[in-house]
Symmetry: C2
Subunit: 359 residues, 2 copies
């Protein structure tokens, strides 16, 4: 596959992954972990997946605390390409900063933003979608890749697609972004066939993104461009920027204005939001117990679910279905796939209850 | 309480407690552990419980591998009172050897044998029973303490009691020992009211025990007496002794011959056979999760059961009822109270599957 000239991957590497505690921690979040047993972290896999299209045209935006680990994991990249946010300020600031930097560096750039903690099981299909999205974005559209729903998820927002674009077969005009729906609404969306999951993947010319932002918040767009022109002002200006998601700041109003396109994709996407989705991703239908780690260190009888064998201890499970057991050096989680969402309550309790070092 | 002159406690300290894996190991069996959170091991508690009646008239019979730990835990005892079996040969050999030694040392002795890994929640009631049993045994009876059944257990044998003894009110003639019953039979025994659990507690004059053994196996009784007379022959003779439980070798035939008495007792006895019975023993009805160890290192949401917090790791449990989680330095068990019996299958699998060091 030939790389796309002037196409850049922007990788926002943030988010603690609280619902993946105790594997994911504030100090060592989800994207730094190998959650698929591939030997590469989610961050590394994200970069590997995009390499055929971008070579080394990669910008990572991450928290200042995590920058050293990111530099180490992506040692083949120029460390100057790994931007440290002084503090988390949501996705518009992070991706907008990358856009402002790229607008200066490469006036012909198209950028795609790809979260560092997603998985894709069919990378070729993924790249086909990105390639099409790049072509549409080059024409001035804000392009999102809309994931074909595989079930009526209530954990994602949806994008409603309109007419197919004559000049870009396979791409569609987006008519609306909708928030995470309740179950009945999600079921209706899936049945309708013209709704896609919003995976937060946006492909766009940097200047187009910032100009769209300027339509709703001209000061914000100007501030981002000012930081790019004088990077030494980053620390001083950053904390004054609005804390808002790119979806709300740009994508939703732009869709209302008919300026968003959707490339529907079906490439085994998952954001591994919790241990239930990790289990779904890793499970082998022939086995009762799915193991992330060394399967020789797990013994089970009449049991199914997920074991994350994160230490050299033996983990033995008897008579529990859909159980989740996560063993780490200083904490153990035992729950079920049904209750995987509630792990964050444990993390909140530990933070409040004198054990913030475990979170 | 005045000690009983010439009354001796024999404490057989054996048995791996496989169903309490990974807490109990072949190398560090159940009796060496504090399973009640009292700060004392089951062995130490057994000795403490008997101290008011026997002072330091205690003989422990244990495996050669465990003798150093037993000597350390019972440091107040003369180490010569802690006898090492060269290899496990079941209860008749172990208790018979103690009887033979005591027959020589104290011709007026009455001995009681009390397993090192049982718990008693009402020690005063227990001592009252032992005191009565000692009086009956002094008259030449083989006396067993029959536990009032608290539920129709299928995991214990039962003793059928006959007429009350005129000369020892509160003691009864035993008519029969019966094997572990199936559920319906156990229910019938409990309803009948004249069956007691056989807890393997025997009180008897050493010579009476050996003479009863001689009735069924004169060579065995003679061999035990020969070892006692020449302790240096122990290693050579031990492996030639029959491997048989005292119940089969002596108690059952003696009951048939009308020579066994029963003192019924109700003192919160338990043999902590598995984590389900440990949970029953430790549980506090007001709490969802019972913790053996430091409760500050356990967090739970919508969960009940037992956590054995054997390390300094945090154990977090979400959405599981009647769960059992046992955390040790090199192994973790996750099961339910219902399946607690099946833990031994894991131990067998580990033994066979290249991990005997974990068993």
């Amino acid at each position: 596959m030939t790389p796309l000239t002037h196409f850049w991957a922007v990788i926002p590497a943030g988010g603690a992954g609280t619902r993946l505690w105790p594997l994911s921690r504030a100090g060592e979040p989800k994207f730094l972990h190998d959650l698929t047993g591939s030997g590469r972290s989610l961050l590394q896999t994200t970069r590997d997946r995009l390499a055929p299209l971008v070579d080394d045209r990669v910008l990572v935006v991450t928290g200042v605390a995590h920058r050293p680990a990111v530099v180490e994991q992506l040692s083949e990249l120029d460390p100057a390409r790994i931007i440290a946010e002084p503090a988390p300020r949501d996705s518009m600031a992070a991706i907008g900063l990358a856009a402002a930097l790229l607008e200066l560096e490469d006036p012909d750039a198209v950028m795609g933003s790809f979260a560092a903690d997603h998985v894709v099981t069919d990378p070729d299909a993924f790249l086909d979608c990105v390639r099409l999205a790049e072509a549409v974005a080059r024409d001035g559209w804000l392009v999102t890749i809309g994931i074909e729903p595989s079930y009526p998820a209530t954990g994602f927002g949806y994008i409603h697609t309109g007419a197919e674009m004559a000049e870009h077969p396979g791409a569609f005009v987006a008519t609306q972004f909708v928030e995470k729906p309740v179950a009945e609404v999600a079921a209706r969306y899936c049945a309708a066939g013209d709704y896609r999951w919003n995976a937060g993947i946006f492909v766009v010319r940097p200047g187009v993104l910032l100009d769209l932002l300027a339509l709703t918040d001209p000061d914000f767009a100007a501030a981002l461009r000012a930081i790019a022109a004088a990077p030494e002002t980053l620390d001083a200006v950053w904390s004054t920027l609005p804390k808002i998601a790119l979806d709300h700041a740009v994508a939703e109003p732009a869709a209302d204005a008919g300026r968003v396109a959707v490339v529907p994709g079906s490439f085994g996407w998952d954001d591994i939001g919790d241990f239930a989705s990790l289990h779904t991703l890793l499970r082998d239908e022939t086995e009762g117990m799915t193991v992330l780690g060394d399967p020789r260190m797990v013994r089970s009888i009449d049991a199914s679910g997920l074991v994350v064998a994160g230490t050299h201890r033996m983990v033995a499970i008897v008579g529990l279905d859909d159980v989740v057991v996560v063993d780490t050096g200083d904490a153990i989680l035992v729950t079920t796939t049904d209750r995987a969402q509630d792990v964050k309550a444990i993390v909140e309790e530990l933070k409040a209850g004198g054990h913030p070092h475990l979170t």
